[in-house]
């Protein structure tokens, strides 16, 4: 961490310089400039926490930073140093155990990290040095090294692509492990670089490292013999990111620009910090309360002791003299040691065993997630995976769900559904025949049988074939002789066939966006096949099986602001054509209006069906027009300053006055049961936010498809588009929009019922909020501090009042930012992130609970997640059933533990008033130690593992039950107070009940008397039975294990007491309990008082159980009755009632 922050700091320093200059291949260059080799960090990745040397001190330090561990350490030390009523072993042993186990666990994890680091750092990489290829360890790569990467290897650092084995100077890359996009992306070499990299003499000037994956600005100066240096601009298309994988290209050479911890990947990943659950926070809070109780008890006792001793004859009566040492001790020191002794005597109120039990519960409990066969996915042959068991109960507390879209909500599997040409609908029949029928009877405009004019139709299909950045994928063997093979292969296929042959599917295409592939494949169905791009010539096989050739002049790339892309091609006949496809909203204003209406209906219908729609338009460019555009484009591309803005201006200028051809509809298929899952989650009172790196339209349609947005949902949009609408400064507009939305969604809206299912009743307006990455960064980093806070607040308030929020075009770090913002907002709600790609890692790490989907996109998300499930649909059971149950279990566990130790120690405290405040323990040392370890630990552990206060099926069916435990409902202070009072009540009953009995200690029928150990044993017996039976009363789900453990512990207690008192223990100094227990049982009075006190203690509890029922919510009662009846009537094996 330090290292990273140091790097950041240094980076900050460097940033003032603004640029870094890199000498390719470390060559000095002809121009005489002072050559100062700049210092860059090496390519080593450090993610481990400890080294062999600092492990012990650092780990111990970290462990004792935990309030509980530190407390136990102090107690232990006090016991060692001061003469205390109990032996140091009682607290030392458990502490040692806990510390050792934790240290071993953490050491093992760090060892794994070391191993992983080593694997990355020591992997060999080919580096070109002085004209020779040498192998180097990855960690030794320096900035400026020329690195060679072969196919299917990952890039060891951020590289500028200099050379590719492909003829056209491109290479394909998949960034699945970076941003989650599994498709192949095309990257370009810097133009005009000689084939021989040895003789290359160039420098690269580029910006300092920054985490944005999609931004890179740089410039390369190429020095050729005595010529003016040529300047080439560098953009993100030239940058190969560490972590991405080279695909479909034999090898590339690149120069390292960012290395090690400065790579964009490293900057994008945050440290995996220790996550703590709300329950743990509650435990700590309760712990503090009990610590206060403990200290005040000790203080009270110490004070009273000295008050009491002031009376003559009390401190040192003749029968009980002090030793010389005691007499000599300084009064204040004695007071202090007395205080410490009391602390030690009462320290059992905060037991080490609670931490052990909680850990055990979490560890063992998490197995039920991995064992759940409902989480098993036959496709990948895997079930759920639990990476951390610390957060089980947090699954029951989730308020906000942040979900990735691609691969999580959707399958990331595009399919061409239909298209519309000139208002005539074309539907692929094979795909969905039933829908077809529906369509026929549907719209009046729908003229399925009629066709648009053949010319238009073909133009449309050509547009689909040309307007994209798709590559035809060659298999590796064919790589050398791409062209012909490709054609051959396609030639051999029955192109007219509507149903595609499997081999052809496999051959496939490579594109930066899966819907482009879908479109190209769609065009193929209608007879136009894209054959490939070869040295700027695009080949199309048309319906007549003729190959058409088009020269690709320019690609006007897609960007989220324009939301369209265009290509400019020149056909054989010499016509220059511009084809453009894009979102309806960005196309319609740029085409002739008379064509719009016919298409608009289709587009809107498709959009509400959840399809991704694109409109296609074209334009003839005259010679002058083209020349003008060409010049503009070239100029803008070379600009180093404001390149994007300039390009945009030219694009906008070119893409005007087009003719609308038609529209397409592509479906991104949702995950199984995505809509049901979302509904259930929302029904459980959770707010679902979709955070995606994808385009807004796509994301929006997915939101519609999975029911997050409804037809009636009013969308509040805060995107670059809406921000630029007014043509004013973005920030002003932002302010305006935020206030407007705030008024709409927050002020005018009726107060939302807390935790209720989403207000679907009519009359109430649903709002959906959409924001994109750039707008978010304006919101978050506004120029002035006050504004920024205001915007943040407005933004959050709006979002909280919306049923669903969609954040699109998010960089990984921005996703984390959003999560962080929500996490830290008022009430600090519990957040959950779910995603499958590496781009979700940062948000998975940031959220309270991170869930990884075991999708197709690598294992990054799974590895960084806290829980991993195969499919989105499993989230429902994970949260509604497992999470709910875990929460209830552990909440009860915590409350019960505090309770049982309070009523354990309270009699001990009260006894001090009767023993001259002398720290005399009421219970025998064995009982003191065993109480938490043996007598009362197992029943609560069994409870916390097996309790199902409501059975799983019912929990799944009634999502709203989830909101009943929301906001840490079972660990609220009221309830804590109730348990504490119960503990106090029990403690008082135990102690004073026996106290009154001992008014006459002659309790046996032979007149013999009981002493102080009998007193303690009677109290202890009542205590153990009451505490165990109290748990039995709370148990709603008695499996045989519960029976075994509850009755077993009681039996064990009795057995142990007999055993412990039945022998003169050879190595024991005292035989205090010798036959105490047996004698106690021989006394009828003792029996009677034990029974009486147990009953009296449990009476209020039973009473409350009876009285509570009618007061509960009526619906709840009814539902429970239902449940009971149904389970009684048809004893399914899920919640059967044993007879």
């Amino acid at each position: 961490m330090l290292r990273r922050s140091l790097n950041r700091l240094l980076g900050g320093d460097e940033r003032r310089v603004d640029n870094r200059t890199i000498y390719i291949g470390h060559q000095s260059f002809p121009v005489n400039e002072a050559f100062i080799p700049p210092k860059f960090c090496d390519n080593r990745i450090v993610s481990s926490k400890y080294t062999v040397w600092n492990f012990l001190p650092k780990n111990l330090f970290e462990q004792f930073r935990r309030i509980a561990n530190f407390y136990f350490l102090i107690i232990f030390l006090v016991q060692v140093i001061v003469d205390t009523p109990t032996s140091p072993v009682t607290s030392g042993l458990p502490l040692f155990f806990v510390i050792t186990v934790t240290a071993i666990k953490q050491g093992y994890e760090d060892w794994l990290r070391h191993k992983a680091d080593r694997e990355v750092n020591k992997s060999t990489v080919k580096v070109l040095e002085n004209g020779e290829e040498t192998s180097k360890e990855s960690e030794k790569i320096k900035v400026g090294d020329i690195v060679e990467v072969t196919e299917n290897d990952t890039f060891p650092c951020d590289l500028i692509l200099l050379q590719s084995s492909r003829d056209d100077g491109t290479c394909f890359v998949t960034t699945a492990s970076l941003d989650g996009e599994s498709n192949h992306k095309t990257h370009y070499t810097v133009p005009d670089i000689e084939r021989d990299l040895q003789s290359l003499s160039a420098t690269i000037e580029c910006e300092q490292p920054q985490p944005d994956l999609y931004k890179f600005n740089g410039r390369m100066h190429i020095y050729k013999n005595d010529q003016e240096p040529t300047v080439r601009s560098l953009g993100p298309e030239n940058l190969l990111l560490k972590g991405a994988t080279l695909k479909n290209t034999q090898k590339i050479c690149g120069v390292a620009v960012y290395t090690g911890m400065e790579t964009k990947m490293a900057l994008n990943y945050q440290g995996k910090s220790q996550k703590r659950s709300v329950v743990e926070k509650s435990i700590n809070a309760f712990l503090l309360v009990y610590l206060c109780i403990l200290v005040s008890k000790a203080l009270v006792c110490t004070t009273l002791k000295y008050v009491w001793q002031n009376k003559p004859g009390q401190d040192e009566p003749w029968y009980n003299e002090k030793t010389q040492k005691e007499k000599d001790t300084n009064l204040y020191l004695k007071m202090f040691t007395d205080f410490l002794s009391f602390m030690v005597l009462f320290n059992f109120i905060i037991p080490v065993s609670m931490y052990v039990t909680v850990e055990m519960q979490k560890f063992l409990g998490s197995f039920f997630i991995t064992w759940d066969k409902d989480f098993f996915d036959p496709e990948i042959q895997e079930g759920a995976l639990v990476n951390t068991s610390d957060l089980n109960e947090e699954l029951g507390q989730v308020e906000y769900i942040f979900t990735d879209k691609t691969g999580t909500l959707t399958q990331n599997n595009m399919e061409f559904i239909e298209c519309c040409i000139d208002g005539f609908q074309y539907k692929h029949r094979g795909a969905c025949s039933e829908l077809d029928g529906f369509c026929v009877t549907d719209g009046p405009v729908n003229k399925l049988q009629q066709k648009a004019g053949r010319e238009r139709e073909e133009l449309f299909l050509r547009a689909l074939c040309l307007c994209h950045t798709v590559q035809v994928k060659e298999s590796t063997e064919q790589a050398r002789s791409q062209g012909e093979d490709c054609i051959d292969q396609v030639d051999g296929l029955p192109v007219e066939d509507e149903a595609l042959q499997p081999p052809q599917e496999e051959r496939g295409f490579i594109a930066s966006s899966p819907d482009e592939i879908a479109l190209v494949k769609g065009a193929m169905r209608y007879g136009f096949t894209f054959l490939g791009l070869e040295s700027k010539t695009m080949k199309i096989l048309n319906r007549n099986k003729d190959v058409e050739m088009y020269e690709l002049l320019h690609v006007l790339n897609f960007d989220p602001v324009r939301r369209r892309m265009s290509v400019i091609v020149r056909s054989r006949s010499g016509d220059t054509l511009l084809f453009c496809k894009g979102a309806d909203s960005s196309i319609f204003p740029r085409v002739r209006q008379e064509e719009v209406e016919r298409i608009r209906m289709h587009v809107e219908r498709n959009a509400t069906d959840g399809y991704r729609t694109l409109c296609v338009a074209y334009k003839h460019l005259s010679e002058e027009e083209y020349a003008q555009a060409d010049e503009g484009l070239r100029e803008a591309r070379l600009a180093l300053q404001d390149r994007e803005e300039k390009l945009m201006a030219v694009y906008n200028q070119v893409e005007t006055g087009m003719n609308l051809l038609g529209a397409t509809a592509v479906e991104d298929r949702l995950q199984e049961e995505a809509a049901e899952t979302m509904e259930a989650l929302q029904g459980a009172g959770m707010k679902v936010w979709v955070l995606t790196g994808d385009k807004m339209e796509t994301a929006k349609s997915t939101c519609y498809a999975c029911g997050l947005f409804q037809k009636r949902t009013e969308l509040l949009e805060l995107t670059v588009r809406t921000l630029e609408d007014g043509g004013r400064k973005r920030e002003d507009r932002l302010h305006e929009l935020l206030s407007e939305y705030h008024k709409k969604a927050v002020q005018d809206a009726p107060p939302v019922k807390a935790g209720g299912s989403r207000g679907r009743f009519f009359g109430k307006q649903d709002y959906g909020f959409i924001i994109d990455g750039p707008s978010l960064s304006i919101v978050l980093s506004s120029s002035s501090e006050s504004n920024s806070n205001l915007y943040k607040n407005l933004f959050l308030q709006i979002c909280q009042n919306c049923t669903a929020v969609l954040c699109c075009r998010m960089a990984p770090l921005q996703k984390a930012q959003i999560v962080k913002m929500v996490k830290n907002c008022k009430g600090s709600p519990i957040t959950l992130s779910i995603g499958d790609g590496a781009n979700d890692v940062s948000m998975i790490l940031e959220a309270h609970v991170g869930i990884g989907i075991k999708g197709k996109e690598g294992r990054q998300a799974v590895r960084n997640s806290d829980y991993a499930i195969p499919k989105l649909k499993h989230l429902k059971k994970l949260l509604l059933a497992h999470g709910h149950l875990y929460y209830v279990r552990i909440a009860h566990l915590v409350q019960y533990f505090f309770y049982k130790n309070l009523c354990f120690i309270l009699p001990q405290f009260l006894y001090q008033f009767f023993c001259g405040y002398s720290q005399q323990p009421l219970y025998d040392a064995a009982y003191l130690t065993m109480y938490n370890i043996c007598f009362t630990s197992m029943p609560i552990l069994a409870y916390s593992l097996f309790e199902q206060h409501i059975c799983i099926e019912f929990l799944l069916k009634n999502a709203n039950l989830y909101s009943e435990v929301a906001k840490n409902a079972m660990l609220r202070w009221e309830l804590f107070l109730y348990w504490t009072l119960l503990g106090v009540f029990h403690g008082l009953v135990f102690f004073f009940g026996v106290r009154f009995l001992f008014g006459n200690p002659a309790l046996q029928d032979n007149g013999q008397v009981f002493g102080n150990w009998s007193y303690g044993t009677i109290v202890f017996t009542v205590l153990v039975f009451t505490v165990t039976l109290k748990l039995a009363l709370d148990t709603r789900h008695w499996t045989w294990i519960n029976h075994f453990v509850i009755w077993g512990s009681l039996a064990f207690y009795v057995f142990f007491s007999f055993f412990w008192g039945g022998i003169i223990w050879p190595f024991q100094k005292h035989q205090r309990l010798y036959f105490v227990f047996a004698n106690m049982l021989s006394s009828v009075s003792a029996w009677l008082v034990i029974i009486l006190l147990i009953l009296l203690s449990l009476l209020p509890e039973i009473l409350l159980v009876v009285l509570r029922k009618p007061r509960g919510p009526y619906a709840r009662k009814l539902s429970e009755d239902d449940l009971l009846q149904s389970s009684r009537l048809q004893p399914s094996h899920h919640c059967p009632i044993s007879t």
């Binding site: 490293a266 010389q324 002398s918 007149g1007 100094k1069 036959f1075 006394s1083």
Partner: protein, 369 residues
């Protein structure tokens, strides 16, 4: 930390925490067992008014008679108490209490006459009671050496440190060591019955059977095993400072001498509360025809050895008969009656509420909510 982010994509390394055990068999389908699927057959009790109400009545019905029984039993137990501390100048023991000195060789005696209004029919148990005597003080409770008392020779010579400052005296180990033993109650109480015709007869007091059987026979043992010569066994040790006689001279009966002297054992069982009683003697019933202690005048002869004035203590002598529940203690009876009645009352109230609620429940107007 970042570790996992940098691993190769295949990810065969899984940095997983505690839950890793399950990750080891990733491709295996979870077993469909009731236990693993959390579907163990279970009894699901629901406490409702219907199930609890009868319980309340039953508890009430059981507890009240027990309580009455206990109360009556306790009331039937006869108890007679004499405070012989001698703080009051009019008290016969006033002189003894005032002139107490550890060094006096002549024991101070006082006799207290009293009149028993009721005859004591069965065995009478004679207790001594002390007040404001903190036998449960920590320093006091631990000041003993159980292994010495168990007859361990080594501990006899080297008493445990716990016994300080009563471990050694005059460079010789104290036997029995410790504060408890040192402060053993050493008043001698004798009881005389004054016949109506004036003769004073001593009532025989049994000194055995007052300690727990296990204590006397197992926990406490004289050093030297079965050696009859106790004096020899205690050779080299010294008596506790405050004792007038060494341990081997506590009683003439060898079965009740030394560490297994029952008075000593009783004293060594530290009391729970600062006001306590300990069994001193038992007056056995000799003759079924004659009450153990007939009504009449008695005299309690006290050899006043035990000082309590220094710590504001009190000394009492108590006669008590014993029932199956032990000594006189009205608490249990009252508690049982109270709890029983409360249960019964709650039962009635709950029945009332339940009845009313049921009516409401059946009311169709409510269910439309």
């Amino acid at each position: 930390m970042m570790a996992s982010s940098y691993k190769d994509e295949d990810g065969h390394i899984s940095v997983s925490g505690t839950g890793a055990g399950a990750g080891s068999l990733p491709s295996k389908k979870p077993e469909n067992t009731a236990f693993k699927q959390q579907r163990l057959p279970a009894w699901q009790p629901v406490l409702t008014a219907g199930t609890v109400l009868p319980a309340f009545f039953i508890i009430g019905l059981i507890f009240i008679p027990i309580g009455i029984g206990l109360y009556v039993t306790s009331n039937n137990i006869k108890e007679f108490e004499i405070d012989y501390t001698g703080l009051d100048p009019s008290s016969p023991c006033f002189n003894c209490s005032q002139n107490f000195s550890w060094n006096s060789t002549k024991p101070c005696t006082c006799s207290i006459p009293f009149y028993l209004e009721q005859p004591y029919e069965s065995n009478v148990f004679m207790y001594y009671g002390l007040s404001n005597f903190y036998q449960n003080h920590r320093r006091y409770v631990k000041s003993r050496d159980d292994s010495q008392l168990n007859g361990n020779e080594e501990s006899l010579r080297k008493p445990s440190k716990e016994c300080e400052p009563y471990a050694r005296h005059d460079n010789r180990p104290i036997a029995p060591c410790g504060a408890i033993a040192n402060s053993m109650f050493n008043d001698t109480l004798e009881l005389f019955y004054s016949d109506p015709n004036g003769t004073k007869t001593q009532i025989p007091l049994t000194a055995t059977g007052i300690a727990w059987w296990t204590d006397k026979h197992v926990k406490f043992r004289n050093p030297g095993g079965n050696n009859d010569n106790l004096t020899a066994a205690f050779q080299g040790t010294t008596k506790p400072i405050n004792w007038r006689r060494p341990a081997y001279e506590l009683d003439s009966d060898p079965e009740n001498n030394g560490f297994i002297n029952e008075d000593f054992i009783v004293w060594m069982r530290t009391a729970a509360l600062p006001t306590f009683r300990k069994l001193y003697r038992i007056i056995q019933r000799r003759n079924t025809m004659v009450p153990t202690l007939p009504r009449g005048n008695y005299t309690l002869e006290v050899v006043y050895n035990y000082p309590v004035r220094s710590f504001d203590g009190r000394k009492r002598m108590i006669f008590s008969t014993i029932s199956w529940m032990g000594g006189k203690n009205p608490f249990l009876g009252i508690a049982y009656i109270t709890v029983g009645s409360v249960c019964f009352l709650l039962g009635v109230i709950l029945l009332f509420i339940h009845h009313k609620y049921d009516n409401r429940n059946n009311n169709p107007d409510i269910s439309s909510n």
